[in-house]
């Protein structure tokens, strides 16, 4: 019996640039106790499709077709009926748990709010129910925690609370829009476990929207692939991963980075490198503290970390959010003050250095930022932006003067020359990140710092940017610090991998050492938590993780 039945759905948005058809003739159905994953890259219409089930579309959208949810067509419900349907028949779990909860109310109040909106209930009854549901989603000590405010929970627990809110009226369908994207990989595994238990224990149907093929392999029973607003393929998970039919699905799966390809490449690179090892960056007992507010102790982001990067070597820095990996990258680029230990970059000591002291260092360091959307001045053309380092370091009089070199650079990153005349917002994410690489290598730096350069990109685009990075590194021979939360990505590029946990370096070694035979417990857990895009292998890994006791305190 199908819980929701979407028939020939069309959604069109009115935008400043004309009408945009976001969903085009999509038909889907989800059975009770089934997890349907909708996958696709950003802009494929997957989120819009799912939100239509709750009729959560902005005013600028018009839709046609039918969304039949337990016998009612959601698209033609009256506002009162719609309100009743939301929560009782279908509920939603959002991507960012920290913004989905109201910070000024206790979580108990927020859960009760949903209950009270759907029928009379005394305060005491609602509280009992809230405690029950918090226990169901695995919040320890729910009798006490029901009175906590959202900021008193960790990210993973907040997502559990959000799921509890969605679950409290026992809806037959839960729509989860990228429920684990904002979470660390170890926490992600726990949330996926929770969603799986909802399906198994309560028979709740789940529509899961994600771009992460590993998550799909871990949780989904059936997969629908969307591309440019159309449904291109639909199959059960094992079939889809084993034998994708549509050209797009095949490319999507091929683009997912997999663990275990790196060591061979790293070995090849190591063989090419000859001669004396010359260190470009040396950190000894590095400490970085952020000053606290008046009277409070500062926050120690990096604690007693030692590592080095040799000329022409790629060091991959892995860790969860808050582990201090970005802080280290920023410190090397002189964006964050070093507060203790020693950090020497190309022979210059950064402890106690001022902005001016770093001037001779600047042309030797390139930096690629995480979010390509904000790393370019939106009012300058791409050519002007890329020419900026050349102009600042007097290699060219003006941006026009530097145009020949800029064209060379754009070609080096495989962008057409005429893209130089465009403005940053006229490029896609992947194109912008390539332009960002062009700017970083403009002065032929000795050292390149890449701070999660692909985490904001779609999988297929990510694959091409990573390939380009590897190519440029081979041709230009710069040393690189590659920061990422994704082990598979780091594995692909890095000669050596360093694992950070809560500001400390827990493990360092070649890819084969760290990923092949991890010594530290945290590295083991990190590895086991990483979902692989293969349902069969992932099921085995899940057992492995359970054996490791992957359930941490969050």
């Amino acid at each position: 019996m199908s819980v929701v039945d979407i028939r020939d759905l069309n959604v069109t948005f009115a935008t400043d640039g004309g009408d945009v058809r976001a969903v085009d003739g999509v038909s889907l159905s989800v059975d009770a106790g089934e997890v349907l994953a909708i996958v696709g890259e950003s802009g494929s219409g997957k989120s819009v499709t799912a939100k239509t089930i709750l009729r959560l579309l902005p005013e600028t959208a018009t839709s046609s077709g039918a969304v039949v949810l337990t016998g009612k067509d959601v698209l033609s419900l009256s506002p009162a009926d719609l309100r009743r349907t939301r929560g009782e028949d279908v509920a939603m779990v959002f991507q960012e748990p920290s913004t989905a909860l109201n910070p000024v109310y206790t979580v108990g109040w927020q859960i009760a709010e949903g209950l009270r909106a759907h029928g009379r209930m005394s305060r005491r009854e609602a509280r009992t129910k809230a405690i029950d549901i918090l226990r169901t989603v695995g919040i320890p000590d729910p009798e006490r925690r029901v009175d906590y405010y959202p900021h008193q929970f960790s990210g993973g627990q907040k997502q559990r609370v959000v799921i509890a809110m969605a679950l409290v009226l026992r809806p037959s369908l839960i729509v989860a829009d990228e429920p684990t994207t904002a979470l660390d990989v170890t926490v992600q595994a726990e949330i996926l476990d929770l969603l799986r238990s909802l399906r198994d224990d309560f028979g709740t149907a789940i529509v899961l929207i994600t771009h992460n093929m590993g998550v799909v392999a871990d949780l989904a029973d059936r997969v629908a692939v969307m591309y440019q607003g159309k449904l291109v393929e639909q199959a059960d998970a094992r079939t889809l991963f084993a034998a994708p039919q549509h050209e797009y699905t095949k490319r999507l799966l091929a683009a997912v980075p997999k663990l275990g390809e790196g060591p061979a490449r790293a070995a090849a690179r190591a063989a090419e490198r000859t001669g004396e090892r010359e260190d470009v960056v040396v950190a000894r007992n590095l400490v970085i503290e952020y000053p606290g507010r008046l009277g409070r102790k500062g926050f120690r982001a990096v604690d007693d970390v030692s590592f080095s990067i040799a000329r022409g070597e790629v060091l991959g820095l892995v860790g969860e959010s808050g582990s201090g990996k970005t802080t280290i990258g920023r410190a090397i680029a002189g964006l964050t003050r070093v507060t203790g230990g020693s950090l020497s970059v190309l022979g210059t000591e950064l402890l106690g250095a001022r902005y001016r002291d770093l001037a001779p260092l600047r042309p030797e360091i390139g930096f690629v930022f995480q979010d390509p959307a904000t790393s370019f001045n939106p009012l300058l053309t791409i050519a002007d932006n890329v020419a900026e380092p050349l102009v600042v370091h007097s290699r060219a009089e003006s941006a026009q003067d530097a145009r020949a070199r800029v064209d060379e650079l754009l070609e080096a990153v495989q962008l057409p020359r005429h893209f130089g005349d465009r403005f940053p917002h006229e490029l896609s994410g992947g194109q912008r990140q390539r332009a960002s690489l062009a700017r970083a290598i403009a002065l032929s730096p000795t050292l390149l710092i890449a701070d999660e350069p692909t985490s904001a990109l779609d999988v297929s685009v990510q694959a091409r940017v990573l390939e380009l990075f590897a190519e440029l590194q081979r041709d230009l021979g710069f040393a690189a610090l590659f920061i990422s939360h994704d082990l598979a990505v780091v594995d692909l590029l890095a000669d050596r991998i360093a694992v950070l946990y809560a500001g400390r370096l827990v493990e360092e070694g070649t890819g084969a050492e760290v990923l092949g035979a991890p010594k530290h417990d945290y590295t083991k857990r990190l590895l086991a938590s990483l979902p692989v895009p293969d349902p069969v292998a992932q099921a085995e890994r899940r057992l492995e993780l359970a054996r490791l006791g992957g359930r941490s305190t969050s």
Partner: protein, 344 residues
């Protein structure tokens, strides 16, 4: 999307005019028309006004005080014997002059201070913020009166009067520009492209003016229009209280209103209604433009046409990024045929 839009459509108001629909467009157009007429009248005052602003008599003799509207004096004459229509028309010049001088000065000073203070931070920032808050907390009209007295001793010629009014308004407005630009600067300072400029090694002035300032000026047209209307009100307030411009050296609506107080109770309506109407109209025009610019700048407040849910013409690949007109997003899209077949 084309590589560059034509220059005309990138100008502040013209661009918004094209973007707007419905009621918002009506508001914006009304505002623009009122301001346009205001500017035109100010420019052509010598041609439009039947008499001079300080003229008391013509070849037929004195106008006479408090004459009702007639063919001689379309809007009547004031208690001082001036022609109301002429003073209303000449008043646009004074108003325009004050707006231009006041807003230009406060814009210049406020923006520079805001950018420097916001970017550098530290003790300079703290002192400036405290000073700005102190000025902010002061009743603006009282402050304007104090400044007017300091500058001109209370009475003055047309330029002295205009300058006194303009400078007093400037002092009141600088904190507004300062705060808005400072807030934008603090936000932009942490954006990745400013950090990118720092990593590149760009000098601080270069970062300030090339990267920060140009991106911080987004809200200025809005503030500009709203302040312009406030400037008129402050000027009128000053004039009404008697700190404005002498009637013989310039026409000023606020002063005329002040002189019309006695007339109101004796049923002489034309001396107060027309200068008052002029103030209301100009302020309304400015506010309409300012508010519509504000609404249009915010995509959440911007009204849009409804989409018609008909399929797009075949063979025209549409980028499906809600809210953003990105160019074709991925390389995959270039290489793949249009998705057609669905496998169930």
């Amino acid at each position: 999307m084309a590589a560059r839009r034509p220059v005309l459509s990138r100008l502040p108001v013209v661009h918004q005019l094209r973007q707007s629909v419905g009621l918002q467009r009506g508001m914006l157009v009304t505002g623009v028309v009122i301001i346009g007429m205001f500017l035109l009248v100010a420019l052509l005052a010598p041609l439009l006004a039947p008499y001079g602003f300080a003229q008391l008599r013509d070849e037929d003799g004195a106008f006479g005080a408090q004459q009702p509207p007639s063919s001689e004096h379309l809007l009547g004459t004031t208690v001082g014997g001036y022609d109301v229509l002429s003073r209303v028309i000449w008043g646009t010049r004074t108003a325009l002059l004050v707006i231009v001088v006041a807003v230009a000065m406060s814009l210049f000073v406020g923006v520079i201070l805001g950018v420097v203070s916001g970017y550098l931070g530290g003790w300079l920032d703290r002192i400036l913020v405290v000073v700005a808050d102190a000025v902010y907390a002061f009743p603006s009209l009282l402050l304007a009166i104090v400044v007017a007295i300091v500058i001109s001793g209370g009475q003055s010629s047309v330029f002295g009067g205009v300058l006194a009014a303009a400078i007093s308004i400037t002092v009141v407005f600088i904190p507004q520009y300062f705060r808005v630009i400072r807030a934008e600067t603090v936000r932009i300072k942490s954006e990745a492209f400013v950090e990118a400029a720092r990593v590149i090694g760009a000098s601080t002035p270069r970062i300030l003016f090339k990267h920060v300032l140009r991106n911080a000026t987004r809200t200025l047209p809005l503030l500009f229009t709203l302040n312009a209307s406030e400037a008129i009100l402050t000027l009128a307030g000053l004039g009404f209280l008697g700190f404005g411009i002498e009637p013989t050296s310039g026409a000023e609506w606020g002063f005329d209103l002040n002189r019309a107080i006695g007339d109101v109770t004796s049923g002489i309506w034309w001396t107060s209604v027309f200068p008052g109407l002029a103030i209301v109209l100009v302020v309304l025009g400015m506010t309409l433009v300012g508010e519509s610019l504000n609404d249009l700048a915010d995509p959440r407040l911007r009204a849009r046409r409804r989409a018609d849910n008909t399929p797009p013409p075949a063979g025209d690949p549409v980028s499906v990024v809600p809210g953003g007109a990105n160019s074709p997003t991925t390389s995959l899209q270039d290489e793949l045929p249009n998705p057609g077949e669905v496998r169930a």
